[in-house]
């Protein structure tokens, strides 16, 4: 049977299994590795990691679905996560979201037809001093206005 992940990811996951006092702790870091490679956590990968750790696939699915950051279906290459919690909302998060929806032609939760952008409303990202802000993949951008958003999106391939 072929591996649902690359041999490199498989090797890194094997390295995690002995790293913790109990094997189960390897699950979250392993899921992060899988998502870093695949962009989401495919079902076959849940079966695979369940076997590695020694828990049921259903247990893994329960963990994956609990945590907001784990994606169960493919998303766009650039995941725009707009913080919409109150400290950002007080400084215009609603306008930022509205502008992005119009500019990208999608609603929050949607992905552009070319697969370039996914737009999500997320809860507090702990960067209220830069409100309004969003995170795109691993990078954060604050003090957003329409001009700045245009420049940020234009810089992404």
């Amino acid at each position: 049977m072929s591996l649902p992940v690359s041999t490199e990811t498989d090797r890194q996951i094997d390295g995690l299994l002995g790293r913790f006092p109990q094997r189960g702790s390897a699950l979250l870091p392993a899921l992060h590795l899988i998502q870093a490679e695949k962009g989401h956590i495919p079902l076959e990968a849940m079966d695979y990691i369940a076997g590695k750790i020694g828990v049921s696939p259903a247990f893994v699915a329960g963990v994956v679905s609990f945590y907001t950051m784990f994606q169960q279906t493919p998303i766009g290459r650039h995941h725009i996560q707009v913080c919409c919690t109150l400290p950002c909302a007080l400084r215009g998060a609603g306008s930022v979201m509205g502008y992005l929806e119009r500019k990208l032609g999608i609603r929050r939760g949607g992905t552009t037809p070319d697969g370039k952008f996914t737009l999500s409303a997320v809860e507090c990202l702990g960067a209220c001093d830069t409100a309004p802000m969003f995170q795109i993949n691993e990078e954060e951008y604050g003090q957003l206005d329409e001009r700045r958003i245009d420049a940020i999106l234009a810089s992404l391939k």
Partner: protein, 427 residues
């Protein structure tokens, strides 16, 4: 009064996150002093004597918490650093992690030594990609220089420290949910007792301390309990990072002694964002804490003063709202957060948060009915105190306090069939 910055003293210096820069400014001298002048037991007493109270939200004395570890058990003890900073309005730990990780790391090593822990975990929220990278690098530097690993600085003490990334769940900031998550499970809080100090990670005695708490341990290691206890106010000792956000001119993290007047903090943050809009209300300690209307904002920012004012210092995530803010809309936002983040384990919380969102949405949209304001109170009273973890209070308190302090504004949403502020803005 002049105040020399302590927790933020290295911020803004070149390469402040590196070990070289940290040591050049005297870093790790505190740890050396502790190894030389104290026994672990005596250092626990020192931290108790400093009066240091936890900076994560509950304000429990750190040394007392350490003292709850059972003695004489031949099982491992764990230290888990709570870097799952996710209380809305809070962004202080991020600053320390990204800009002065060794200040935190030094406190972790001293604390682990004091409590007899040889494996510690740094649980950081998954969204803090940059923070996790920086902290991992700081750990690697520390291993290379003999500050982690075997026989640290020749003391005979061994410590391993592992960074563990969360994956987007507010509830994992609750200490028992954090432990579940660290064990690779859904973050469902555990019933207490037993408390983690007795039965924690992998069933072993465990201490969970906040990032800023541990940075304060570094200060105590450097200069001692008496010096520390002289900062701030009685029973509310030491320096504090205050996160000021919302409608101020310069949102940011401001360091001051505990007990600084709230109004002074607003001034430090440049005052109100718009001169034409006066202060309407402040939430002093993150969105879970009770709101104070402007008339009650002449308070000191410390644990006991805010408790006396009917609210709490919480995580010191203070957000400021001006006269243009609709309290129904603001509370609707807050409740959407809690509805999304409820772990779903306890019915009052899982269902209650949904009810709040539903009622507030119809009030704001002009579909409210006369009993809705009472209904909010009624549901809140059934959530509060009826859940496994303090999440129930974390949503009930804002609901109860926004309604209590701004009841007329809530009623007006019913009688005028919608939001008066939104209607005025649309004109």
């Amino acid at each position: 009064m002049a105040y020399d910055k302590l927790l933020t003293r290295n911020l803004g210096k070149p390469n402040s996150a590196t070990l070289d820069a940290y040591q050049a400014s005297g870093g790790y001298q505190g740890l050396r002093r502790v190894f030389k002048e104290f026994t672990p037991e005596k250092f626990v007493e020192e931290v108790k004597a400093s009066g240091l109270r936890g900076r994560g939200g509950a304000g429990f004395p750190a040394g007392v918490k350490w003292g709850f570890l059972p003695k004489g058990l031949e099982v491992p003890r764990y230290l888990c650093v709570n870097a799952d900073e996710s209380e809305p309005g809070t962004f202080k730990d991020r600053l320390l992690i990204e800009q002065d990780p060794h200040l935190v790391l030094e406190g972790i090593i001293a604390s682990a030594w004091a409590i007899g822990c040889h494996t510690a975990f740094f649980y950081i929220r998954g969204e803090f990609h940059k923070g996790a990278r920086i902290f991992q690098k700081a750990i690697e530097e520390a291993y290379a220089k003999g500050l982690l690993g075997r026989n640290i600085l020749g003391s005979g003490f061994d410590l391993d420290l592992i960074v563990y990334r969360g994956a987007g769940a507010y509830i994992c900031g609750e200490e028992t949910a954090l432990l579940e998550s660290l064990e690779g499970k859904r973050g469902l809080p555990r019933i207490k007792p037993p408390f983690p100090a007795v039965v924690g990670l992998y069933g072993c005695p465990t201490i969970i301390n906040n990032v800023e708490t541990l940075a304060n341990v570094t200060l105590i290691a450097e200069r001692g309990a008496a010096w520390f206890a002289a900062i701030g106010r009685p029973k509310n000792t030491g320096p504090k990072l205050f996160c000021v956000s919302g409608h101020v001119a310069r949102p940011g993290v401001y360091e001051a002694p505990l007990g600084i007047p709230m109004k002074e903090l607003i001034e430090m943050a440049g005052g109100m964002m718009r001169p034409d809009r006066p202060l309407k209300a402040v939430v002093p300690g993150g969105s879970s804490m009770k709101i104070l209307p402007a008339a009650k904002c002449d308070v000191l920012m410390d644990f006991d003063s805010l408790a006396a004012a009917g609210t709490s210092l919480g995580s010191a995530g203070m957000f400021v709202m001006d006269s243009g803010t609709c309290m129904v809309d603001a509370l609707w936002n807050v409740c959407r957060f809690y509805a999304h983040e409820s772990c779903g384990q306890c019915t009052p919380c899982r269902e209650g948060t949904g009810w709040f969102v539903k009622i507030l949405k119809r009030l704001e949209r002009g579909d409210g009915v006369p009993d809705d304001v009472e209904l909010l109170d009624n549901v809140a009273s059934r959530v509060e105190g009826n859940t496994i973890c303090p999440f129930g209070e974390a949503v009930a308190w804002p609901v109860q306090s926004y309604v209590k302090e701004f009841r007329d504004e809530f009623q007006e949403h019913v009688t005028r069939r919608g939001c008066p502020l939104a209607a005025a803005a649309a004109r």
